[in-house]
């Protein structure tokens, strides 16, 4: 995955092919794990940053989201940049307050999911034996039981649902996916030489997991975390739309629920239901774009192969087909070796 393993001495050459020496001038250590700046990453960070900023600053500069002193169903106009709802709430103010609610639910649920996934994935993948069997069984069951129906059943029995309870439900029902991904990665890491070396050196298991295994899972962990946040925000929106979201809080989902109930569709009040969905989509897109950049670290083929294909095509266009083609093929082969190592 990363080049950390090439720095460890190859003690058992029969388990792994001989690794090529690290090319000179390569990024090392932590730098290797940070995504390189690209258009996608920049766009993603701007989207995320903008929405988070909106959630923090927005509620201070807009009017009270629960004040119904305005005229109902005003279209967007100065003073009410996104119009008002059928009860006279200012949509922009609700959107800002809803951003807070949705982000809090998303991040909390994402954290819960990722902590559970760490336990069920990494511990299972590293320990093997009966612990692995049991933890994997729990993960497998949670993976198979459909999440949204389960959330609906649980939420419908809870009469009082705070923001935190909803986040907890979302997190607990969403940990299985990331756990499976982390487990398979942890399984492949545990047979690496440097982990074996740490074990032979008498390191305790928690320390091996924390110091040797976990740092190499960081890119994967980060991408799973971002993905879990998107899923949680979407899940909360779905639950709230059905009227099973947090009571008394405003989120993007509850806005959609009220828009549906208030007849926004038939009364043509597009400014009421379009913004919340768009905010969810934009935030999700931002996180996914960052994930793209992380993906290209986790799977270098995604980064190197298109570049190689491009150089082949450019070489062919420049008329030096045979030579350019061979050089490109060699680059691909070399890159592949590095990936495999």
């Amino acid at each position: 995955m990363t080049d950390t393993d090439t720095t460890a001495p190859a003690t058992t050459p029969d388990t792994e092919p001989a690794t090529p020496p690290t090319p000179p001038g390569k990024k090392s250590g932590v730098r290797q794990m940070l995504p390189s700046m690209s258009g996608k990453l920049l766009a993603g960070l701007i989207l995320i940053g903008g929405i988070v900023l909106f959630a923090i600053v927005g509620p201070f500069v807009t009017q009270d989201p629960r004040s119904s002193a305005n005229d109902p169903l005003l279209p967007p106009q100065p003073g009410h940049w996104l119009g008002t709802t059928s009860l006279g709430y200012d949509v922009l103010a609700q959107l800002a307050e809803g951003a807070r609610g949705s982000l809090v639910v998303g991040v909390t649920a994402g954290l819960v999911a990722i902590v559970l996934a760490l336990f069920f994935g990494v511990v299972a993948g590293y320990l093997r034996g009966w612990t692995d069997e049991f933890l994997s069984l729990v993960t497998g069951i949670m993976l198979v039981i459909p999440g949204l129906p389960l959330m609906i059943v649980v939420a419908s029995y809870l009469q009082v649902r705070s923001l935190w309870v909803v986040a907890l439900i979302l997190g607990v029902t969403a940990f299985a996916g990331p756990a499976v991904v982390l487990r398979s990665q942890a399984r492949s890491l545990r047979v690496r030489d440097y982990v074996s070396a740490a074990r032979v050196a008498g390191e305790k298991t928690p320390r091996i997991i924390g110091v040797e295994v976990l740092p190499n899972l960081l890119p994967l962990l980060a991408s799973q975390f971002l993905f879990a946040i998107v899923l949680a925000i979407l899940g909360e929106a779905g639950l709230s739309y059905l009227g099973l979201g947090p009571n008394g809080s405003i989120t993007w989902g509850t806005m959609l629920n009220e828009a549906q109930g208030g007849g926004a569709l038939t009364r043509g009040a597009w400014w009421w239901f379009v913004p919340p969905g768009l905010m969810i989509a934009l935030f999700g897109t931002g996180l996914s774009l960052v994930n793209f950049a992380i993906d290209e670290i986790v799977n270098p083929k995604l980064r190197l192969a298109p570049a190689a294909a491009k150089s082949v095509r450019e070489a062919r266009k420049a008329g030096k087909d045979k030579l350019g083609r061979r050089a490109a093929a060699e680059t691909v082969a070399a890159d592949k070796e590095r990936v495999d190592a």
Partner: protein
């Protein structure tokens, strides 16, 4: 053989866990659903003692039975296909209501899932083939599709095509003013297709991006394999390299994903069905939730879970047959 034994054991345990979960959820959570439901039923008129007992059993308010006895009775009911009686549509059995709803969901979501898969795999394979060109810069935009809340897509589609342009109906699965119920006639089939168009488009829009992206990434990885380079070096036609060498191998993981999503077809689009008032399983479940019809709600949950389990089990067996590596890896 060990592979199949392991899988069967896993699904047996999961089946037990799912059915037990259904039994314990009402008992573990705080709140008093029994009193709420009883008060509601009392207002609506009296209820027979038999129904009251079955509700008691369902919600864990049975006074004269130990937890273990309740659990045994519950299993007996599940095994004999007795999921209780709906209180919204009293006295229709829950199983009958679910049986009526399932074909709608299967037909709509199943077809839409297949369309989305074929479309996504095809486009993804092309995008992977054209790696390193301008197509690469289009790929990230598919994530936008994936991050859309799918019921919001449904809302927007309804607003544009059903309310503003009035091209498509707003709700329902067929023209209820024209037909009294499902019948076998071309007019009815036409009406069903007409009503299913917007819901199907919703599902395709919100799921095609995932297939496209997964297939594209697998395609890029596969195209940098040695055997593809060899095939090109042998002078095979690009078309043959594309279909027989790259696409076939790259599609394997997507095929596994397709199996999983087929399994989740019944559970698939609960909220979408609510938006379109489509008479499927999702709508049934949400109606049950709204009316505190706990027997119906849990019955639907159980049936959804069983459907997912059955579909996944089948796909597991097929996939183990398709790709022998999975049989040895674990």
């Amino acid at each position: 053989m060990k592979f199949y034994a392991r899988r069967i054991a896993f699904y047996a345990v999961t089946l037990w866990a799912a059915i037990s979960l259904n039994f314990f959820i009402p008992r573990m959570l705080p709140g008093d659903p029994f009193s709420i439901l009883m008060a509601k039923l009392q207002r609506a008129g009296g209820i027979p003692a038999g129904t009251e007992n079955s509700i008691r059993l369902l919600l864990g308010a049975a006074e004269d039975q130990s937890l273990w006895e309740q659990y045994v009775t519950y299993w007996k009911n599940v095994l004999t296909g007795n999921l209780g009686v709906s209180v919204t549509n009293f006295p229709t059995p829950v199983t009958e209501l679910i049986g009526d709803a399932i074909p709608w969901t299967l037909g709509l979501v199943g077809t839409a899932t297949i369309i989305s898969f074929v479309l996504g795999i095809g486009l993804g394979a092309l995008a992977g083939w054209k790696r390193g060109t301008w197509v690469d810069s289009l790929v990230p935009s598919t994530t936008m599709l994936q991050s859309l809340p799918y019921f919001w897509v449904a809302l927007v589609l309804i607003f544009v095509f059903a309310v503003s342009l009035q091209w498509f109906p707003i709700i329902g699965a067929y023209d209820v003013f024209h037909f009294n119920g499902p019948e076998w006639s071309w007019a009815f089939v036409g009406s069903v297709l007409y009503h299913a168009f917007l819901p199907a488009v919703t599902i395709v829009i919100s799921s095609v991006g995932g297939w496209l992206l997964g297939m594209r990434n697998m395609m890029v990885s596969t195209l940098s394999e040695d055997y593809v380079t060899t095939a090109e070096a042998k002078g095979l036609r690009p078309r043959r390299v594309f279909t027989t060498y790259a696409m076939r191998n790259a599609a394997l993981p997507s095929l596994a994903g397709f199996g999983v999503s087929l399994g989740f077809v019944v559970a698939g689009s609960l909220v979408m069905e609510q938006v379109f008032t489509y008479p499927g399983v999702g709508k049934l479940m949400i109606t049950a939730v709204r009316n505190n019809d706990y027997a119906l709600m849990q019955g639907v949950f159980l049936v959804i879970t069983l459907a997912v389990l059955a579909a996944l089990f089948l796909m597991d067996l097929i996939y183990g047959f398709l790709d022998p590596r999975t049989r040895h890896n674990d």
